[in-house]
């Protein structure tokens, strides 16, 4: 079982993009923009180390800012599911 310190370490790893929990209003805005229900977004498990590190819970929407070689910085969203 990884400790709190290990979890905060992984956020600094170069493979891990920035994750953050979006607010309720912003989440609704995202869903409206894409015209989808939350479960139609890509998923991320509640047991995912990054999810535990930022303290997100099932039902949250996580905003991920990826460094993309084709588009510079791109923003994607994942829906936290139990598991």
């Amino acid at each position: 079982m990884p400790t709190k310190k290990d979890l905060s370490k992984i956020l600094e790893h170069e493979l891990v993009p920035k994750h953050e929990v979006v607010s309720l209003e912003e989440g609704i805005e995202v869903l409206r923009k894409y015209g989808v229900r939350p479960e139609q977004l890509p998923w991320i498990k509640a047991s995912d180390p990054v999810v535990r590190a930022i303290g997100a819970r099932p039902g949250d929407i996580i905003k991920i800012v990826r460094k993309s070689p084709t588009g510079g910085e791109i923003v994607v969203y994942r829906y936290v599911v139990p598991g």
Partner: protein, 395 residues
């Protein structure tokens, strides 16, 4: 100077939000080099946006099929040779088609697990310090430092002769080995360093040794861990530019990240599942893209990274890394006919029948089977004429 900021402001204003961030930055860098009038500049920016919009994928474009073809065709040209000595002489790495199959099958462990361990500022420029960390993480067992093991049945003793050269190489002393052997918890025993030979350790048992268990005991002693991290079988120190990097055969990301002196931000492994567990699904996705691209590039095949990104997105969509085949992406399609068209047809049909599944005929494969229109391109949209709708009702 103010001209440059003026230019950047204009580019920012015209392009931001309409084209990806990278194009905005590229435009800034390129246009800085020329002296252009405002009209010329405006025209160029307009053309950039136009060109970008012309190149966007249209709705209904079968991107998955295009990706499958774009990766599939070049991979038929890959050499079938499994092993290849890439860069490091002593290490072999699975490359080419076998590695690609391994990646899209989302295997638990790759056939040749490998880690690249980068070191922190203090250790990376000094070979000695790098070697110290290499020794610390490399798994060393008794068998690695032993010349021979004898079992003396008459005296109930096991005599282990150590190799002083290997001990020095691993940075160990005979005392370290003795301490490890004292933890051997089978029967009551005394561990002493032999008086005749300073490189010999004698384990003197109080009770007799069962002759039928000698082999087992010997193996247990030889397999005892002296130090190191489980899974890291061999460490090679490699020079890259002005820094030293440790290349490890075997992989244990979680433990290596904890070692002092290791730059935990940059530790790499080629084990996708392990990255998923330790660093999360997004890191697994990034590594998957990197690994697939490096396999293709190494073979001299030029595949656009966007195809690979789509594959990685599909594989990581449900929060875990799923394989492409029948136990993953293809096996979880909602349509019975689409699944049956892929692999294990009879099983799919029997299972679907026993569950009473209904096929909505919404996908491509099932539409082809029943002879309908496929929902791709213009087949995706429907136009319905409603003669009663008045013009005034449009807003």
């Amino acid at each position: 100077m103010s001209e440059v900021t003026e230019l950047e402001k204009l580019i920012e204003e015209r392009l931001r939000g309409r084209v990806p961030a990278k194009i905005v930055e590229d435009a800034k860098n390129v246009l800085k080099k020329y002296t252009l009038t405002r009209e010329e500049l405006e025209k160029i920016l307009e053309m950039i946006v136009e060109e970008y919009e012309n190149n966007i994928i249209d709705p209904g474009e079968p991107v998955g099929t295009v990706a499958a073809q774009s990766i599939g065709e070049p991979s038929t040209q890959m050499t079938l040779r499994t092993f290849h000595y890439a860069g490091v002489r002593e290490l072999n790495v699975t490359l080419g088609l076998p590695r690609l199959i391994e990646l899209v099958d989302a295997r638990k462990t790759p056939s040749t697990p490998l880690m690249y361990v980068y070191l922190d500022e203090e250790h990376k420029y000094d070979r000695e310090k790098a070697a110290a960390i290499a020794r610390e993480i490399e798994l060393t067992r008794i068998e690695n430092v032993t010349l021979r093991v004898d079992v003396d049945i008459f005296n109930n003793a096991v005599i282990i002769e150590l190799d002083p050269e290997m001990l020095a190489d691993k940075g160990l002393t005979i005392e370290d080995v003795k301490k490890v052997l004292e933890k051997l918890r089978t029967k009551k025993a005394r561990v002493v360093i032999s008086e005749r030979n300073p490189n010999e350790i004698v384990i003197q048992f109080e009770e007799g040794i069962d002759p039928s268990k000698i082999e087992k005991l010997r193996d247990r002693i030889l397999k005892m861990k002296i130090k190191g991290i489980k899974g890291i079988n061999k460490v090679i120190i490699q020079r890259r530019g002005d820094e030293y990097v440790l290349v490890c055969e075997g992989s244990n990301l979680a433990e290596v990240m904890k070692v002092k002196g290791v730059d935990y931000r940059k530790v790499r492994t080629n084990n996708i599942k392990e990255v998923e567990e330790v660093l999360g699904i997004e890191a697994a996705r990034a590594l998957l893209i990197e690994e697939i691209m490096s396999v293709l590039e190494e073979q001299g095949l030029d595949v656009d990274i966007r195809h690979v990104m789509l594959v990685a997105d599909m594989m990581t969509r449900t929060g875990t890394v799923k394989q492409i085949g029948r136990h993953g992406v293809a096996g979880e399609k909602p349509s019975v006919l689409a699944r049956a068209a892929f692999e294990v047809t009879v099983k799919q049909l029997v299972d679907a029948a026993s569950r009473g599944e209904v096929d909505e005929l919404q996908g491509v494969a099932e539409s082809v089977i029943v002879g309908g229109y496929i929902p791709v391109g213009t087949g995706r949209i429907k136009l319905v004429y409603n003669p009663y709708l008045k013009e005034s009702s449009f807003q």
